[in-house]
Amino acid sequence: MGTFHQGKSELHGITVVVDTTGPEVFVGRCDDMDDRGILLNDVDVHQDGEGGRSKEEYVRRAAMLGVWKKHDRLFIPSDRIASVRRLGEI
Protein backbone atom coordinates (compact mmCIF):
# COMPACT_ATOMS: atom_id res chain seq x y z
CA MET A 1 0.00 0.00 0.00
CA GLY A 2 1.56 3.25 -1.04
CA THR A 3 0.74 6.83 -0.23
CA PHE A 4 -0.01 10.03 -2.05
CA HIS A 5 3.04 11.85 -3.36
CA GLN A 6 2.10 12.50 -6.96
CA GLY A 7 3.73 15.33 -8.87
CA LYS A 8 7.11 15.12 -7.17
CA SER A 9 10.46 14.24 -8.72
CA GLU A 10 11.50 10.59 -9.05
CA LEU A 11 13.77 11.02 -6.03
CA HIS A 12 10.90 12.05 -3.78
CA GLY A 13 11.11 10.10 -0.53
CA ILE A 14 14.56 8.74 -1.31
CA THR A 15 17.52 9.42 0.98
CA VAL A 16 20.20 11.06 -1.12
CA VAL A 17 23.76 12.32 -0.84
CA VAL A 18 24.14 15.81 -2.24
CA ASP A 19 27.79 16.65 -2.77
CA THR A 20 28.57 20.29 -3.36
CA THR A 21 31.21 22.19 -5.23
CA GLY A 22 32.45 23.38 -1.83
CA PRO A 23 33.51 21.56 1.36
CA GLU A 24 29.98 20.51 2.37
CA VAL A 25 28.15 17.30 1.69
CA PHE A 26 24.49 16.80 2.65
CA VAL A 27 22.50 13.64 3.36
CA GLY A 28 18.74 13.92 3.55
CA ARG A 29 15.45 12.67 2.23
CA CYS A 30 14.58 14.30 -1.07
CA ASP A 31 11.27 16.12 -1.12
CA ASP A 32 11.62 17.46 -4.64
CA MET A 33 14.26 18.37 -7.17
CA ASP A 34 14.11 20.60 -10.23
CA ASP A 35 16.23 23.08 -12.21
CA ARG A 36 16.41 25.40 -9.22
CA GLY A 37 17.86 22.86 -6.78
CA ILE A 38 16.92 20.16 -4.35
CA LEU A 39 14.75 20.33 -1.24
CA LEU A 40 15.72 17.89 1.51
CA ASN A 41 13.99 16.78 4.70
CA ASP A 42 15.74 15.51 7.86
CA VAL A 43 19.15 16.65 6.72
CA ASP A 44 22.65 16.11 8.05
CA VAL A 45 25.57 18.15 6.77
CA HIS A 46 29.25 17.33 6.96
CA GLN A 47 32.21 19.59 6.27
CA ASP A 48 35.20 17.97 4.59
CA GLY A 49 37.66 17.03 7.33
CA GLU A 50 35.17 17.56 10.18
CA GLY A 51 35.84 15.09 12.99
CA GLY A 52 38.86 13.88 11.01
CA ARG A 53 36.65 12.48 8.25
CA SER A 54 36.70 13.35 4.58
CA LYS A 55 33.46 13.75 2.68
CA GLU A 56 33.70 10.23 1.26
CA GLU A 57 34.51 8.70 4.65
CA TYR A 58 31.46 10.42 6.08
CA VAL A 59 29.28 9.19 3.21
CA ARG A 60 30.50 5.59 3.60
CA ARG A 61 29.65 5.70 7.29
CA ALA A 62 26.24 7.23 6.55
CA ALA A 63 25.55 4.47 4.03
CA MET A 64 25.88 1.80 6.71
CA LEU A 65 23.32 3.04 9.22
CA GLY A 66 22.03 6.50 8.28
CA VAL A 67 22.51 9.95 9.73
CA TRP A 68 21.41 12.08 12.65
CA LYS A 69 19.55 15.07 11.27
CA LYS A 70 20.76 18.59 11.93
CA HIS A 71 18.04 20.33 9.92
CA ASP A 72 14.38 19.52 9.40
CA ARG A 73 14.33 21.03 5.91
CA LEU A 74 16.99 22.51 3.67
CA PHE A 75 17.12 23.80 0.09
CA ILE A 76 20.35 23.48 -1.85
CA PRO A 77 20.49 25.59 -5.03
CA SER A 78 21.61 23.99 -8.28
CA ASP A 79 24.72 26.11 -8.62
CA ARG A 80 26.13 24.54 -5.43
CA ILE A 81 25.36 20.92 -6.39
CA ALA A 82 28.16 18.74 -7.77
CA SER A 83 26.28 15.44 -7.64
CA VAL A 84 23.20 13.72 -6.25
CA ARG A 85 23.38 10.00 -5.39
CA ARG A 86 21.04 7.59 -3.65
CA LEU A 87 22.47 6.69 -0.24
CA GLY A 88 21.08 3.17 -0.60
CA GLU A 89 23.26 2.58 -3.67
CA ILE A 90 26.53 3.45 -1.93
Binding site: G13, L65, G66, R86, G88
Partner: protein
Protein backbone atom coordinates in the same frame (compact mmCIF):
# COMPACT_ATOMS: atom_id res chain seq x y z
CA UNK B 1 1.27 15.11 13.79
CA UNK B 2 -0.04 11.55 13.61
CA UNK B 3 -2.19 10.57 10.65
CA UNK B 4 -5.81 9.58 11.11
CA UNK B 5 -6.13 6.18 12.79
CA UNK B 6 -8.49 5.18 9.98
CA UNK B 7 -5.81 5.80 7.37
CA UNK B 8 -3.18 3.93 9.36
CA UNK B 9 -5.36 0.94 10.26
CA UNK B 10 -4.70 -1.04 7.06
CA UNK B 11 -0.96 -0.37 7.41
CA UNK B 12 -1.07 -1.85 10.89
CA UNK B 13 -3.13 -4.80 9.69
CA UNK B 14 -0.77 -5.53 6.83
CA UNK B 15 1.73 -6.66 9.44
CA UNK B 16 -0.53 -7.88 12.24
CA UNK B 17 -2.36 -10.18 9.83
CA UNK B 18 1.00 -11.84 9.14
CA UNK B 19 1.49 -12.60 12.82
CA UNK B 20 3.42 -9.48 13.80
CA UNK B 21 2.58 -8.36 17.32
CA UNK B 22 1.86 -4.65 17.65
CA UNK B 23 3.62 -2.92 20.53
CA UNK B 24 1.48 0.08 21.43
CA UNK B 25 3.04 1.29 24.67
CA UNK B 26 6.53 1.56 26.18
CA UNK B 27 5.54 -1.23 28.55
CA UNK B 28 4.74 -3.46 25.56
CA UNK B 29 8.18 -2.71 24.13
CA UNK B 30 9.96 -3.45 27.40
CA UNK B 31 8.10 -6.72 27.78
CA UNK B 32 9.05 -7.74 24.24
CA UNK B 33 12.69 -6.72 24.60
CA UNK B 34 13.17 -8.06 28.10
CA UNK B 35 12.78 -11.57 26.81
CA UNK B 36 16.42 -11.97 25.83
CA UNK B 37 16.76 -15.55 24.70
CA UNK B 38 16.48 -16.47 21.04
CA UNK B 39 15.82 -14.20 18.09
CA UNK B 40 13.52 -11.21 17.81
CA UNK B 41 12.53 -9.08 14.82
CA UNK B 42 11.34 -5.54 15.52
CA UNK B 43 9.85 -3.55 12.67
CA UNK B 44 9.54 0.23 12.77
CA UNK B 45 6.39 0.61 10.67
CA UNK B 46 5.69 3.87 8.90
CA UNK B 47 3.05 5.61 6.82
CA UNK B 48 5.13 6.87 3.93
CA UNK B 49 4.60 4.67 0.90
CA UNK B 50 7.94 5.62 -0.63
CA UNK B 51 9.64 3.03 1.56
CA UNK B 52 7.08 1.51 3.91
CA UNK B 53 5.05 0.40 0.91
CA UNK B 54 7.88 -2.06 0.19
CA UNK B 55 8.91 -2.78 3.78
CA UNK B 56 5.63 -4.31 4.85
CA UNK B 57 5.22 -6.71 1.93
CA UNK B 58 8.93 -7.50 2.21
CA UNK B 59 8.45 -8.52 5.82
CA UNK B 60 5.38 -10.56 4.92
CA UNK B 61 7.35 -12.44 2.25
CA UNK B 62 10.25 -13.05 4.61
CA UNK B 63 7.88 -14.47 7.20
CA UNK B 64 7.04 -17.27 4.78
CA UNK B 65 10.67 -18.45 4.95
CA UNK B 66 11.43 -21.76 6.65
CA UNK B 67 13.67 -20.14 9.26
CA UNK B 68 11.88 -17.60 11.43
CA UNK B 69 12.69 -15.34 14.37
CA UNK B 70 11.29 -16.58 17.66
CA UNK B 71 9.40 -13.34 18.26
CA UNK B 72 8.20 -10.70 15.80
CA UNK B 73 6.76 -7.30 16.66
CA UNK B 74 6.30 -3.79 15.37
CA UNK B 75 5.98 -0.24 16.57
CA UNK B 76 4.38 2.44 14.42
CA UNK B 77 6.63 5.49 14.02
CA UNK B 78 4.76 8.78 13.93
CA UNK B 79 1.71 7.12 15.49
CA UNK B 80 2.61 5.33 18.70
CA UNK B 81 5.18 7.90 19.71
CA UNK B 82 6.12 6.69 23.18
CA UNK B 83 6.38 3.07 22.12
CA UNK B 84 8.57 4.07 19.18
CA UNK B 85 10.86 6.17 21.36
CA UNK B 86 11.23 3.27 23.76
CA UNK B 87 11.98 0.87 20.91
CA UNK B 88 14.62 3.22 19.51
CA UNK B 89 16.34 3.21 22.88
CA UNK B 90 17.08 -0.48 22.28
CA UNK B 91 18.99 0.16 19.05
CA UNK B 92 21.65 2.31 20.64
CA UNK B 93 23.50 4.82 18.51
CA UNK B 94 21.80 3.96 15.25
CA UNK B 95 20.10 7.05 13.80
CA UNK B 96 16.32 6.78 13.82
CA UNK B 97 14.63 6.09 10.51
CA UNK B 98 11.33 4.59 9.50
CA UNK B 99 10.51 2.22 8.13
CA UNK B 100 13.44 0.24 9.45
CA UNK B 101 13.96 -3.25 10.78
CA UNK B 102 16.03 -4.41 13.74
CA UNK B 103 16.96 -8.01 14.39
CA UNK B 104 18.17 -9.19 17.79
CA UNK B 105 19.73 -12.41 18.96
CA UNK B 106 19.87 -13.13 22.68
CA UNK B 107 19.11 -9.48 23.30
CA UNK B 108 21.92 -8.15 21.10
CA UNK B 109 21.28 -6.20 17.90
CA UNK B 110 22.82 -8.34 15.14
CA UNK B 111 21.28 -6.87 11.98
CA UNK B 112 19.65 -3.60 11.04
CA UNK B 113 17.97 -2.39 7.87
CA UNK B 114 17.73 1.40 7.81
CA UNK B 115 15.15 3.17 5.69
CA UNK B 116 17.60 4.03 2.92
CA UNK B 117 18.24 0.30 2.36
CA UNK B 118 14.52 -0.17 1.66
CA UNK B 119 13.82 2.88 -0.51
CA UNK B 120 13.57 2.20 -4.20
CA UNK B 121 13.78 -1.57 -3.79
CA UNK B 122 10.98 -4.06 -4.27
CA UNK B 123 9.45 -6.30 -1.63
CA UNK B 124 11.33 -9.36 -2.90
CA UNK B 125 14.69 -7.64 -2.46
CA UNK B 126 13.78 -6.55 1.06
CA UNK B 127 12.62 -10.09 1.84
CA UNK B 128 15.82 -11.64 0.49
CA UNK B 129 17.92 -9.50 2.83
CA UNK B 130 15.79 -10.53 5.79
CA UNK B 131 15.86 -14.20 4.81
CA UNK B 132 19.66 -14.06 4.65
CA UNK B 133 19.69 -12.69 8.20
CA UNK B 134 17.24 -15.41 9.31
CA UNK B 135 19.49 -18.06 7.72
CA UNK B 136 22.45 -16.73 9.62
CA UNK B 137 20.85 -16.32 13.03
CA UNK B 138 17.68 -18.45 13.31
CA UNK B 139 17.48 -22.10 14.19
CA UNK B 140 16.61 -24.66 11.54
CA UNK B 141 13.04 -25.70 12.25
CA UNK B 142 12.56 -29.18 13.68
CA UNK B 143 11.20 -31.52 11.02
Amino acid sequence: MPYSPLLVKPMREELSSAGVKELLTPEDVDAFMNEKSGTALLIFNSVCGCAAGMARPGVRLALQHDRQPDRIASVFAGQDLEATAKARAYIGDIPPSSPSIAFFKDGELVYFVPRHRIEGRDAYAVAEDLKAAFNEHCEVPAS
